[in-house]
């Protein structure tokens, strides 16, 4: 299962992507359908959320998830 993180802009999506990858998490950035924006698909690990909060990166979590 993965987190789908709705990012407020490409800039923050890319910032989060680089941060998470640097910390060893698998992460994929995709254009969000339905509302112009970008989503990050990343490991469902609470540490991911802690990391984003620590670096003050805004996001909205969508826990629908996918395999």
């Amino acid at each position: 299962m993965k987190y789908i993180l709705q990012m407020p802009s490409y800039t923050y999506a890319q910032k989060a992507l680089r941060l998470l990858v640097a910390f060893g998490y698998h992460c994929e950035l995709k254009r969000r359908s339905g509302d112009c924006g970008y989503d990050l698909y990343t490991d469902k690990n609470p540490d991911v959320i802690k990391l984003l909060s620590k670096y003050k990166i805004p996001y909205t979590i969508n826990e629908e998830g996918y395999s």
Binding site: S9, Y10, T11, Y12, K15, R31, D35, C36, G37
Partner: protein, 372 residues
């Protein structure tokens, strides 16, 4: 033969790496931050990497790097944005029109109160002149990092400290200093505005506003940002809040390549090279008693030399040099306040080398000037 000593306006020629970056961007990039297709994603990634490069260079976070059309655009965003709700603004007496005109417009409309702090050759007096003008409603101070007319370097660190102690936004016009002297937000600069086409060696039509985020900047323009498109409201997060409309990816990549070029050579080496050329040029000019050089021994300058030849109008000197293939900017350099401050009623001629300039060309130029 054309030799450019007007690099304070736009550096020319450009580094090979910048030219290559422009061609590459034209061949590979489209619109950033607006789509999920390969071209769009590639462009978005490239523009973000340019934000990272600029952020690293000026000591900021990537999301706080706003790409603009030029330094004037960045300064207008900063000044009109910060002063949007009124208050008191202080600018220096050496400001470019990109600062003095938006400030004057706001003051003329009655929206703000405006004061001008006299710049002195003595930094302590300059700081004191700013300090005296601060009031309880002073919201921002704008000061150039280095004059675009004389090259005088301003006491940025001390002014930053002064502003910080009074919770005043400190906005720096870094157009003439970027790529020449090391500037970082950590010096206490809240908002740094710069051009991309001068000392950063990018192409024209490029600039940046770089902020520490302490003072929110409401946008002057609203429009498409590629995010939250269903909303009629402008996004509030930087950089998109200040980047309505498609940014110039080609120019942005040129700036990125320019910054990397500077980092590779070293900013101190660039300064030393250009400064050496200026000092040699001045030594040659000093052989002619008719020439006035607008420099003082106790003052530090970026590599710019303003001068006049006797009573010859500066534009006439500029034209005479142009006929010999030398490009120098004459007149008032879009800096009414600075020339009024200097008392140069007929303007001045400005000599400004780049990393590509040669000392022997400066000597040849001085020899021609000495015959006028």
């Amino acid at each position: 033969m054309i030799i450019n000593f007007d690099n304070a306006a736009t550096t020319f020629p450009k580094p090979l790496a910048v030219k290559k970056a422009v061609v590459s961007a034209m061949e590979q990039l489209t619109s950033p931050g607006r789509s999920g297709h390969p071209l769009g994603m590639r462009t978005s990634e490239a523009v973000y990497s340019a934000r990272e490069t600029a952020a690293d260079f000026f000591g900021a976070s990537p999301e706080n790097v706003v790409f603009t059309l030029n330094c004037t655009h960045a300064l207008n965003l900063a000044i009109q944005g910060i002063m949007n709700s009124g208050g008191h603004l202080i600018i220096s007496s050496m400001e470019h029109n990109s600062v003095s005109r938006p400030a004057a417009k706001l003051a003329d409309s009655g929206k703000i109160r405006l004061s001008t702090a006299q710049v002195s050759p003595d930094s302590r007096k300059t700081i004191e002149n700013f300090r005296r003008l601060i009031r309880s409603d002073t919201k921002a101070v704008v000061c150039t990092a280095a004059s675009n007319v004389t090259g005088q370097i301003m006491p940025v660190n001390e002014l930053a400290e002064l502003c910080k102690s009074r919770n005043i936004a400190f906005i720096v016009d870094a157009a003439q200093a970027s790529g020449i002297i090391d500037l970082k937000l950590s010096q206490g600069i809240n908002i740094l505005c710069t051009a991309g086409h001068k000392g950063l060696y990018g192409i024209t039509g490029t600039g940046m506003l770089i902020t520490d985020g302490k003072f929110p900047i409401p946008p002057l323009l609203q429009g498409g940002t590629g995010s939250g498109s269903k909303s009629l409201r402008q996004p509030e997060l930087l950089p998109e809040s200040l980047e309505s409309g498609t940014v110039g990816a080609v120019g942005i990549m040129s700036m990125k390549a320019g910054i990397e070029f500077i980092k590779k050579i070293g900013i101190n080496k660039i300064f030393a090279h250009e400064d050496r050329i200026c000092r040699r040029f001045i030594r040659e000019l000093e052989k002619n008693p008719k020439i006035t050089v607008y420099r003082q021994k106790s003052v530090n300058y970026v590599p710019i030399v303003a001068f006049n030849v006797g009573d010859i109008p500066s534009e006439a000197v500029g034209n005479a040099l142009a006929e010999k293939g030398f490009c120098l900017r004459a007149g008032f350099h879009c800096a009414a306040l600075a020339h009024a401050s200097l008392g140069t009623e007929k303007g001045a001629v400005r000599f400004s080398p780049s990393v590509f300039s040669r000392e022997d060309d400066a000597v040849k130029l001085a020899e021609i000037i000495n015959t006028l």
